[in-house]
């Protein structure tokens, strides 16, 4: 009955299959499931739909799955600064659906919250709204967006207890808790597994009900994309 798994490989055992939809947490490389992504590469599953704000950076994160040609479709907000992605896109090897970042986040939140569709101002009058239902509420036009769900979410937390309660650290929180609630199976890697009672019940970012499997991160490189220093 324990949710704690001994290794990233074991934590992903029996939940990977060709053609599945995977949500992967993180904003750029911050809050990336660094230890889980390489196991998906190793498993060699193909034809994936991946939902993530970005698609990794040269050599890191989801870039690995691009390199191994495992991703068929990417639902993301920003895929710049990624030459491999560009090449695959231009050669027709990968499909991309770009979302405004906030719409992406809310679609994922809606997937976890049982809300199949919602209205937003974001994208009204732009190509994002093309082909979508729009409607006027109180004199203002809104566009309707659908929820996003996944077969699997791989996310990165800071600490987890044995019940699967997870706490995230600073801006590494980002999409992680929302994705954790929107997938059929959620696998969380954390920097530290703590004992029951070590987390403050008033400060749980992702309650254990959303978490199926927990594993201690084997990689915590936390590569910085844009080191910026004040003089």
């Amino acid at each position: 009955m324990s949710k704690i798994f001994a290794s990233p490989e074991l934590a992903l055992k029996d939940v990977l299959s060709d053609g599945m939809t995977i949500m992967s947490g993180g904003f750029g490389l911050v809050g990336n499931p660094e230890s889980l992504i390489p196991e998906i590469k190793k498993a060699g599953i193909k034809d994936l739909t991946v939902i993530s704000n970005n698609c990794g950076a040269e050599g890191f994160g989801l870039w690995m799955l691009l390199e191994a040609r495992q991703i068929r479709k990417m639902i993301a907000s920003y895929i710049g600064d990624n030459k491999l992605f560009e090449a695959l896109y231009l050669s027709g090897e990968i499909e991309v659906e770009l979302n405004p970042q906030g719409t992406l986040a809310e679609r994922i939140r809606a997937g976890g919250a049982g809300i199949p569709a919602f209205y937003t101002r974001t994208g009204v009058g732009t190509i994002v709204a093309e082909g979508k239902h729009t409607e006027i509420f109180d004199g203002v036009e809104y566009v309707r967006e659908r929820w996003l769900k996944a077969d699997l979410a791989i996310i990165k937390g800071w600490k987890a207890d044995p019940a699967g309660n997870v706490v995230f650290r600073k801006t590494a929180r980002n999409f992680n808790p929302n994705m954790g609630a929107a997938a059929t199976v959620t696998v969380v890697e954390v920097e530290e597994i703590v004992d029951a009672g070590d987390l403050d019940p008033d400060c749980i970012h992702l309650p254990g009900i959303f978490v199926d499997r927990i594993v201690k991160s084997t990689l915590n490189e936390k590569r910085i994309e844009r080191l910026t220093i004040s003089e």
């Binding site: 920003y78 600073k170 929180r173």
Partner: protein, 216 residues
């Protein structure tokens, strides 16, 4: 002398009222932070999930888990808070941010803005720009007045795919400050950069520009 990038940022900072919550885009907008002092009590929001953003870290302060929306390392303040992406954009979409300062490729007299993609080139992404222009109370654009090729970026109508329709209130360029007068489909000149003539700004502005009665 037209305004430098730093001077554009300094001028933009003057638009921010005491106590404002503000989101700054990448490029010139990021420089605006340099012109905010403690008295101004401005709080910076970063759409990746942070409110109360501090300056760039000293080398020994760098924390890879604290970045801004441009993925640059930043610092936290004693009153900072972190939240999820969904909560961050709820804050933006819900109209709680007082002002957003963004760059643009084109701005039109009807308040349209284009700043995310150029046809024929592969789009890098949308990021948070569409959410910001749609949700924030006041959208201020800072940019060079013309392209490198000398073409006006202040237009009667945008030619590039839009980021938002009828959302911009104010544009600050190297030549001056311009208010979007959506009703009259024109820009109103608010201020000229020192040494810039009315003739020059008229010449470099494709959009209808109202300067009548303007006194330098």
């Amino acid at each position: 002398m037209a305004w430098s990038r730093e001077e554009i940022a300094a001028r933009a900072a003057k638009e921010l009222k005491k106590g404002f919550y503000v989101n700054l885009g990448i490029g010139i907008p990021t420089l605006v932070a340099n012109y905010l002092n403690e008295d101004s009590a401005i709080t910076l929001q970063s759409e990746n999930g942070m409110l109360g953003m501090g300056p760039f870290p000293r080398r020994e302060e760098v924390d890879p888990d604290i970045v801004n929306a441009g993925k640059q390392t930043v610092t936290e303040l004693p009153t900072s808070s972190y939240f999820s992406s969904a909560d961050s954009f709820a804050m933006i979409r819900g109209g709680h941010i007082d002002a957003s300062i963004l760059g643009a490729m084109e701005v039109a007299a009807n308040g349209d803005i284009a700043n995310w993609t150029v046809p024929g080139k592969m789009a890098k992404g949308i990021g948070g720009a569409m959410d910001l222009v749609a949700g924030v109370k006041k959208v201020i654009v800072v940019m060079e007045h013309t392209t490198k090729a000398g073409k006006s970026k202040i237009l009667k109508r945008c030619t590039l795919p839009l980021t938002g329709a009828a959302v911009v209130e104010l544009v600050i360029t190297d030549l001056g400050v311009f208010e979007c007068d959506k009703k009259n489909r024109q820009f109103n000149l608010i201020e000229l950069a020192p040494g810039v003539s009315l003739e020059e700004v008229h010449e470099k502005t494709e959009a209808p520009l109202h300067t009548e009665g303007f006194v330098q």
